[in-house]
C-alpha cells in the first residue's frame, strides 16, 4: 500500500578539493514517496555499500530544517523544487516516477568542495567573527526588562534572526554574493537598542570581510530571497545598505 517511485539520481562525485569531479548516475527503485530526500540518499548509500562502493558524502545533521547543515543543489535549485524548506524537509512525493534528479553541491566560489556534495562554509563564520555580535561579556548586564523594545521591532528582528546560515543565498546568487546572510544579522541587531551602539562599525566590518573572502556584490536580482528556506526578506538588504551608507557618511 506504500506508494513508491523508481528514479535515477545524477550525483556530483568529487574525491577531494583538488580532484576533478564528474556526474555519476545511479538507478534507485522502490523509493517510498513518504521518505525525505536525505532518506532517499541514505537508501542509495546503503545500496552503494552493498556493492562495496564508497557512499556519497553530503552534509546533514538535525534533519528538521533548523541546523542549516544540509546544502544540496537539486534540479537547479538550492534545497530543491519545493519552497520554504531545507533539503532535509523536502520529500520524495515532489518527484515523478521515472524522473532523473540532478544533485550538485553548493555552487559558489567562496564555498569550495570538500568531497562529493560537502562544501566548506567557514567563510560565513568568518563574516560573523568580523562583527556579527553585540560586544558584551558574560555577567554585569542590565535586567532583561530594563529596556522596552517595540513588539514590531522585536518581531522583525526575530524574522531576520531566523537565518540558518545554510548558504543557499550565496549559492543561488549569480554574483555569489552573501548579502542576504550579512543583511539578516546586521538588520536583526540594527532593530534592537542593544545592537545599535556598534551598528556602524558592524556593517562596515562584516561587508568588508564578505568582499575579502571572495563573495560577489549584490545587484538586487532577488534570487537569494526566492530560494531562502526561511523566507528572509530582501528588505533586510535595504536596511543593511542604509546602515552601511550612514556609517560611511560618518567616516
Amino acid at each position: 500500500m506504500e506508494k513508491t517511485i523508481n528514479i535515477k539520481v545524477r550525483v556530483w562525485r568529487q574525491a577531494g578539493p583538488k580532484a576533478k569531479g564528474a556526474f555519476e548516475t545511479y538507478e534507485l527503485n522502490h523509493v517510498s514517496v513518504d521518505s525525505s530526500f536525505l532518506e532517499m540518499l541514505d537508501v542509495l548509500n546503503e545500496q552503494l555499500i552493498h556493492e562495496r562502493k564508497e557512499p556519497i558524502v553530503f552534509d546533514h545533521d538535525c534533519r528538521e530544517g533548523i541546523c542549516g547543515m544540509c546544502s544540496l543543489y537539486i534540479n537547479g535549485h538550492p534545497h530543491g523544487p519545493d519552497s520554504s524548506v531545507t533539503t532535509c524537509q523536502l520529500h520524495m512525493r515532489k518527484f515523478k516516477d521515472g524522473e532523473t534528479i540532478t544533485v550538485e553541491p553548493w555552487r559558489s566560489h567562496a564555498f569550495p568542495v570538500i568531497k562529493d556534495l560537502m562544501v566548506d562554509r567557514r567563510a560565513y563564520d568568518k563574516i560573523m567573527q568580523a562583527g556579527g555580535y553585540v560586544s558584551v561579556n558574560t555577567g554585569g548586564v542590565p535586567d532583561a526588562n530594563a529596556i522596552p523594545i517595540s513588539k514590531l521591532n522585536a518581531d522583525e528582528a526575530m524574522d531576520a534572526a531566523s537565518c540558518i546560515g545554510c548558504g543557499a543565498c550565496a549559492a543561488a546568487c549569480k554574483n555569489g554574493s552573501a548579502m542576504l546572510f550579512v543583511a539578516a544579522k546586521v538588520s536583526q541587531l540594527a532593530l534592537l537598542p542593544q545592537g545599535q551602539v556598534e551598528g556602524a562599525a558592524r556593517a562596515k566590518a562584516m561587508l568588508s570581510k564578505m568582499d575579502e573572502l571572495g563573495f560577489g556584490n549584490c545587484t538586487n536580482t532577488g534570487a537569494c530571497a526566492a530560494e531562502c528556506p526561511k523566507n528572509i526578506s530582501l528588505s533586510h538588504i535595504a536596511r543593511l545598505n542604509r546602515e552601511y551608507i550612514c556609517a560611511k557618511l560618518q567616516d
Binding site: M1, S32, D34, D59, C67, V136, T138, S150
Partner: protein, 710 residues
Amino acid sequence: MAKKKEDMVDTAKAVANKVVKAVKDKVAQVANDDATKEAVEAVKEATEKVAKAVKQAAETIADGDYVTAKIPEGPLAEKWNNYKAHQKLVNPANKRRLDVIVVGTGLAGASAAASLGELGFNVLNFCIQDSPRRAHSIAAQGGINAAKNYQNDGDSVYRLFYDTIKGGDYRARESNVYRLAEVSNSIIDQCVAQGVPFAREYGGLLDNRSFGGAQVSRTFYAKGQTGQQLLLGAYSALSRQIHKGTVKMYTRYEMLDVVVVEGRARGIIARNLVTGKIERFFAHAVVVGTGGYGNAFFLSTNAMASNGSAAVQMYKKGAYFANPCFAQIHPTCIPVHGEFQSKLTLMSESLRNDGRIWVPKKKEDAEAIRAGKKKPTEIPDEDRDFYLERRYPAFGNLVPRDVASRAAKERCDAGFGVNNTGLAVYLDFKYAIERLGRDVVEARYGNLFQMYEKIVDDNPYETPMMIFPAIHYTMGGIWVDYELQTSIKGLYCIGEANFSDHGANRLGASALMQGLADGYFVLPYTIQNYLADQIQVPRMSTELKEFAEAEKAINDKIDKLMSVQGKRSVDSIHRELGLIMWDFVGMARSAEGLRTALKKILDVKKTFWTEVFIPGSRNDLNVELEKALRLADFLEIGELMARDALNREESCGGHFREEYQTPEGEALRQDDKFSYVSCWKFEGEGQEPKLLKEKLEYEFVARQTRNYKA
C-alpha cells in the same frame, strides 16, 4: 560525610586490632598442653580472619561505595554565594598561561568557551559540525524557564527549584537544582543583552508562556525557535572571542579520547574529520559538553551526529556514568513511517494545550484505519477513546511527558493504534477549531501545522494529526560533583552530557536553562577553583607516553574496525540495536525484558565486530568510519542503560519498571531503597562495572507521590 566514613574505617580497624591482640595475649597465657594449644591456635586464626574481613569491609566503604558531591555547607539559599565567596580565583596574568579544552559548541559548550575566553583563559574549542552554530541545541522549540516573576503570578527561585525537584521525581541533587534556579534570571538578562529577540508584549516588555509541570508562566520564548536564538546568542559571543584570539576553533573535529596524566585530565585525542588525521591536544583542564546519548535508540529526535562517545571515553578513563537508564520519551513526535526512516521529528508540547488525544474505541475501527479502509474523520465521537481524559480527569491531555507516553504505548499494545504500522495515536484539533475558530488555532500553531504537513502530507486542520512517543533527551550522563567536575580531576562535564539537575524526568524548557547555566554562570567560576592550583604546571608536550598510548589505542581500534570487511552496513546494525532498546529498555521495562536486552545487545555487539563493512580509507574523510566508532560506543551505552534499569527496582519519572506500579498502573517509587544516584564505574573490558552510589538527601523539600488524577 567523607569525614564520617574515615572515622568509621579507623574505628573498625582499631577494634579489629584490639581483638587480635587480646586473643594473642590469652593464647600465650593458656597454651600449656598440646590439645589446648591446638584449639587456641584455631581460635586465633579464626579471629584474625574475622579481623581481616572487618578491615576489608571498612576499606571498601571508604574506597567509595558511596560517592560524595562536595556540596558547600550552609542553608540551601546561601550555598552558592558561600562557595563563590570562598573559592580560589586565578589572576589575569596567570589566566593567559592556562589552556582549557572545551569539547562541544552547543548551548553549554559555546557559552562556556566564550565565557572562559572573555575571562582571559586560552581556550581550544572543538566542534563536530562545520560550524558551532549547527549544534543540536538549535532544534529546541518551546522556550527557556527563569524565575523572573515578570507575570506577578507568584514565581520565585524557590518555586522553580521545587517544581524541578518534583518534576524529576525526587531523584536530583537539591543543592545543584537550587543553584540552577538561582542563576536562571541572569541567563535571560545575558541573552537580551546579546540581542536575542525574545517574544515581547505590545508594551515592549518580555512575554512568557506556560509549560508542563508548573502553575506559573515562566517560559521565555522566541517563536518556536528558542533554542536556535539562544544558540546563536552564544555563537555570537563565541565568534567575538574567536576574533579576539582567546578561543581557537576546531570545526569538523571529533574527540576520540581524553588523556589522563598522573590522575588528571590533560588533553584529548581528536580526529580531523576532513583529513582523517588523528591529532593530540594538551590543556590544563578539559570540559566536555557533547550532549546526550539518545541515539542509542537509532531513531530519536536527536541530530544525526549526536552521540555518546565522549561520555564512553570519559567513563572508560574512570569517570562515573550516572543514572544511564534515565531517558526522556517525548509523547508528541511524528510517528515512524517506514523502515528507511532516519530520525523522528518532535512536535512541540504546546500542542497538547488545545489538541485532544484519542484512539478508536472499537478494535475493528482501528483495524480498518490501519488497512486504509476508514478515515479518522469517519469515526463518530462516541466511538473515540480520549484515553488521557478518561484516565487522568484532572490533568487530561496535559499530564507530564512520561505519563502521556506510557498511556499511548498502552493503547497501541492493546491493538488500538492507528497509522499503517499501528504505532500512532491521534492528536485532534477539530474540537479546538469548533471552540476557537480556525484563525485562532492557526495563529497559535500555524508553523507547527505547516511543518507537519510538509512531512506527512496531511492537513491537520482537516484530519487529526498522528503522533507517537520518541526518545528525546537523556537525563543520565557523566557524574559530576557540585563543581561540575567528574570523578577525574581536571575533567568537567556540562549540559545534557552530565547527569544533570533533572533527576528522573526533565520538565519542558529546562534543558536550555541548564545548558546555559552551566556554561555562562557555573563552570567559569568552579573551574577556577581547580585551575588556581595549576598555575605552576607548564604546558606539557603531547609526546608524553600517556598521549602516545591513547593514540595507539585509537589507532588499533580503527584498524580493527577497518579490517573486519564484513557484509553489514553500520546503519543496519545500529537499527538492530535501536529496536532492542525500544522494545526492552524503552517506555516500559521489566527484569525479564532487561535480561533479554543484555543478552541481545551482546549478540549485536558480536555481529558488529565481526560483520561490519566500512568502505574507503581511514586516512580520508570517511563517514562510515565515523558512524562505526560511534556505534561501538552506543553498544556500550545500551548495555549500561539496561544494566542500570535492571538494578533500579522501582519506577520513577521516565524509568518505568512494570513490576513497580500501583493498581492503576502509575509509577511506584521505592524511596527507602533507591533514593540514590547510580554511579557506574568502569572495571575493564568485558568486566561488569561496579555500582557506586551518591545518596540523595532531601533536607529542604518533603518527598511526595506525583498525582495527576485528581
